[in-house]
Amino acid sequence: MQRNLSRRNKIYIYPSAWKIEYGEIASFLSELTGIPVELRNSFFDTFVIDSEKLAVDFAAARIFDIFSTSCAAVHESYAITAIEKEFITEGKPVYGVLYDAGRVAAALRKWIPKQERRLETQHIVFLDRLIATYDAERYHARMLYCSFPSLISTLGMIQAPARPKEFYILRNSNPNIPEEVLLEQFKEKVLTYDDPRLTEVAKGLTLQTVLWTNGFEPFCKNRSCRLYNAHWQEELITSQMQGKICGKHQKIIRIIKDNQNITNKKQ
């Protein structure tokens, strides 16, 4: 287990337009880890960003073929950069599009000012866009992407973990039934777009990014731990709503907290 942790002076959280109790997440993280957490405006509103340039990067992060890493060869496409710019300036969710998580994180990183682009500072960006990483010959949608900054996809919480098999059987048998109608039928077992449980789920995800930033494995094998890497909606809901952290991870979190207390005293 890693001992020589570097000092964390701050975690910044950038909310998205989605209704999640971001304040609750901030207090959850700071209480648990002892690291000061500050809730900022959305990433796009916090920093001085050239939306035109960021739009080009977002356009180039669009995935058009989930079996290929070549992403969009559309950097210079007027249409896509124009609409990306609109999404950035209006802060609206982007539906139906899959983005390469690594490219998105790299695009955002450019706009974090130098004094905050240090290991001591952690940035957690909530994005209303679906992100994916390439793995085992294809892209897979993700809820989070641990990086600098770390990304949490609100749409990913709904769409990335698989739903019960019956959900897909029903959907395939009648493609005209709206997604929302089906989700309503399965709402106990799946997360829906304005689900009040999203806040609890987001807490577990932010904790995963904190572990990663501090050099620990962010995912747990224990199904009832809220660091469990859920692949099914039902698993995600049970692990997060019970709010349990396994013994091993409680210890790790204590190490982070103790280290934080020492550095706080030194300061």
Binding site: S77, Y78, A79, A82, Y95, G96, L130, N176, P178, E180
Partner: protein, 262 residues
């Protein structure tokens, strides 16, 4: 027995048709908005624009208007719409029923005919059996009109197709031509725009995606309906007719702003 119909000679009938059409055609040479395609998104955009007093012409390659709105999926003429697009049915006076929560059904012929009628009532002008041929490009590479030809010309044998098209000027052009996205494709041919083509992107929320991506895709050119899907490589699965209507409405809003700016 008294004659049922009033007297009119053959030449009078012909004169009536030709003179009125010629008059309209002269009037069409300059419009505020030219819309390519009279499917649900094009009709909706045209209706909204005309209601705002904007001179709008719809160019349709077919002899009939309405595109795919007459029929739902699998050749079954029940059309489905999702919340909140049924509000447009309220506006144009079409009855519907809620099939499941948030999902509405309506007879295709009723919805389609009323949409066409309401566009006509609003003052939209139509030119059917006319095909988009090319774009008019203005200063700063801005789209400034359309080049059109009669639909049957494209069906002529190659050796007799030297039939020149005509051009119409428009402040704004809307590509509502469905998956073909004919205007966008023409710009792509000229190297002015790039489309990613079809790809299996994320199918969920694809209806939202079509509305969200409805925009000015190139200076002076707005894309609506399924043309949006082609322009942005959005998922093909999913969209029911609601997104076509709401995309058309959004396209009209964007066009209004562009015209004001000019």
């Amino acid at each position: 027995m008294a004659k049922l119909f009033s007297k009119a000679s053959e030449k009078d009938v012909t004169k009536a048709i030709v003179s009125q059409f010629a008059k309209d055609m002269v009037d069409f040479t300059e419009v505020d908005v030219a819309i390519i395609g009279a499917g649900p998104s094009g009709l909706q955009a045209a209706r909204d624009l005309s209601l705002s007093g904007i001179k709008t012409l719809v160019i349709e390659r077919n002899n009939y208007l309405g595109g795919g709105f007459w029929i739902g999926g699998f050749l079954m003429n029940t059309v489905t719409l999702r919340e909140p697009s049924q509000k447009i049915l309220d506006e144009i006076g079409v009855p519907y029923t809620e099939y499941t929560k948030g999902l509405y059904i309506t007879p295709g012929p009723h919805a389609c005919s009323k949409l066409i009628a309401s566009a006509c009532d609003a003052g939209v002008k139509f030119l059917n059996m006319a095909k988009f041929d090319d774009v008019v490009i203005r200063e700063k590479n801005r789209v400034g009109g359309v080049v059109i030809n009669w639909t049957p010309v494209s069906a002529l044998p190659r050796e007799i197709t030297c039939v020149d098209p005509v051009a119409l000027e428009a402040k704004v052009v809307i590509d509502a031509s469905g998956h073909d996205a004919v205007v966008v494709k023409k710009l792509e041919e000229r190297g002015l725009i790039k489309t990613p083509g079809f790809g299996a992107m994320w199918v969920e929320k694809s209806e939202d995606a079509v509305v969200e991506h409805t925009c000015e895709a190139y200076p002076g050119l707005i894309v609506t309906g399924m043309a949006v899907s082609t322009t942005f490589g959005l998922p093909r699965m999913g969209p029911t007719f609601g997104s076509m209507l709401l995309s058309g409405r959004k396209g009209a809003e964007i066009a209004k702003k562009l015209i004001k700016k000019k």
